[in-house]
Subunit: 336 residues, 2 copies
Amino acid sequence: MKKLINDPYQVVEETISGILKAYPYHLRRAKGSPRALVRSDAPVKGKVGICTGGGSGHLPVFLGYVGPGLLDGVSVGNVFSSPGAEDMLAATREVSGGAGVLYLFGNYGGDVMNFEMAAETASAEGIPVKMSVVTDDVASSPRPERYRRRGIAGIFFAYKIAGAKADTMASLAEVKNVTDRVIEQTCTIGVALSPCTIPAVGKPNFTIGEDEMELGMGIHGEPGIIRTRLQRADDVAEVMSDRVIQDLPFKSGEEVAVLVNGLGATPAEELFILYNKFHDVLNDHGLRTYRVFVGEYATSMEMAGASLSLLKLNEEFKSLLDAPAFSPFLMQWRHS
Amino acid sequence: MKKLINDPYQVVEETISGILKAYPYHLRRAKGSPRALVRSDAPVKGKVGICTGGGSGHLPVFLGYVGPGLLDGVSVGNVFSSPGAEDMLAATREVSGGAGVLYLFGNYGGDVMNFEMAAETASAEGIPVKMSVVTDDVASSPRPERYRRRGIAGIFFAYKIAGAKADTMASLAEVKNVTDRVIEQTCTIGVALSPCTIPAVGKPNFTIGEDEMELGMGIHGEPGIIRTRLQRADDVAEVMSDRVIQDLPFKSGEEVAVLVNGLGATPAEELFILYNKFHDVLNDHGLRTYRVFVGEYATSMEMAGASLSLLKLNEEFKSLLDAPAFSPFLMQWRHS
């Protein structure tokens, strides 16, 4: 294990501490839990608060998306494991501005269980909570069992649009509604080339041959759907985009937002080589790219690989996707 | 070599092609060279144009910094090798808005030679060109021979401030002046944990033991100043910050901008663990952090490691650092 860390058991605490020191104007800790952080001006009165949470090791997911136009709070678990209900509750209390709170997170058993507990307690305290669970990983279950799918990089689109919708002072039901529609229209598939190492474990979370890749692997190393020899980037891109396009399915004439996400160790050059082909395949299918995001939006520490996410757009989604946002990892404003 | 590429000799072309497809509103090719790109609205009339360039493999350096508030054009070489004079000239011609052009790039022999040739030809064509050469790597030469130092991640500060200054419609001499002062006040040191592989070579550019790190290694694998066993992150951070602080030197009471840059494969979590200690060391030296940037700002493909850059600030630098910017890899606007 070759990592720039101190104590493997202090990785999360020191990461959070470093983030708070780097972004004191963006973020602060919530009272009652060192593992709950909120935007520094929380709560925003009258606005639906949005909380996310999950295991560490995926930066900029989750901390990087807390800020105006995006999320209000986050609970932070150990590497690849769920935060506690009390952490989510601590964040919830401080982001509640009187309009309720939306929990928006990826579909993992521990997170669902803990956040449901937090939601119950919050409700009992007079804070209405609704949940939107992200299920974008098309490799993790067939579409008819979509509710079983894992949440991966496509959560970015849900964050962005939910945050923008909440900024319009929409109601909790309205924010949940648009968020669920985004989740329903988002499809992602990943490909992994190398494993990563959980610091406290000290060895790679899976093994893969020097000449192999695995399509559909999850961001914690969950098994994918097919392991093959490493293919040419164009062939990998073709397989990935076909899987994603056929899933929803995305149809000719539709507009899409595209996210090409690096899992951690894959250079940006390779992400653009993939996008070079994705773009052509999308065009061949008659899909128009409205907005393209390329970079590390949801990682698995030093795992090598990438994912492709597509979101089918409508006028409302486009407008919300374009709205300003201001967080440590994402800044955006309308441009001409 | 485990890379998501097609032909190793087409990596640069396909990367550029992917970037142009992803950011059609930001960038376009300049006439006369497939290796010259300019912001889509170039030239901006009456504004000093800023061109950079260098070898590929360092994204977001260089293409990611082309846009309003930043750079106007770029010439793109093969991986880790200089672009040709004619590429820089093609960019120069299209970014010239009548106020001259500044070449702003890292101090590498091939780049200096080729860009001097381009500058001569441009001048003969009636486009005044001045050059600012970035020399921030404190490990590459002692301070008295600062002109021999390599340029690494600290180039980001020069880009940001030069771009903002040019946006004020300052003259070429004024833009060069502020840029040179930024370069003079910027110090960087890097640490490498693993090598990277130039696609057309097919094997790592250097070897390093499973338990070793090298302080001061350059972003192309140029030898550093000391190779040791991998240290704890806090110890690495202490050595790095001491080297940088003592170089200028940075003195108690001064304000600084900080860049913690990932070289490619190092997870953001580790960058924040480093910053967690950098911040304390800076505080111990009485330095105040005005603005902190953490992420991948100048990479070496899949090299693992990080660098620390400090810029000593004054009121002018602060204002220019805070000015809005809009490029594929950097978006920023003034915040309260």
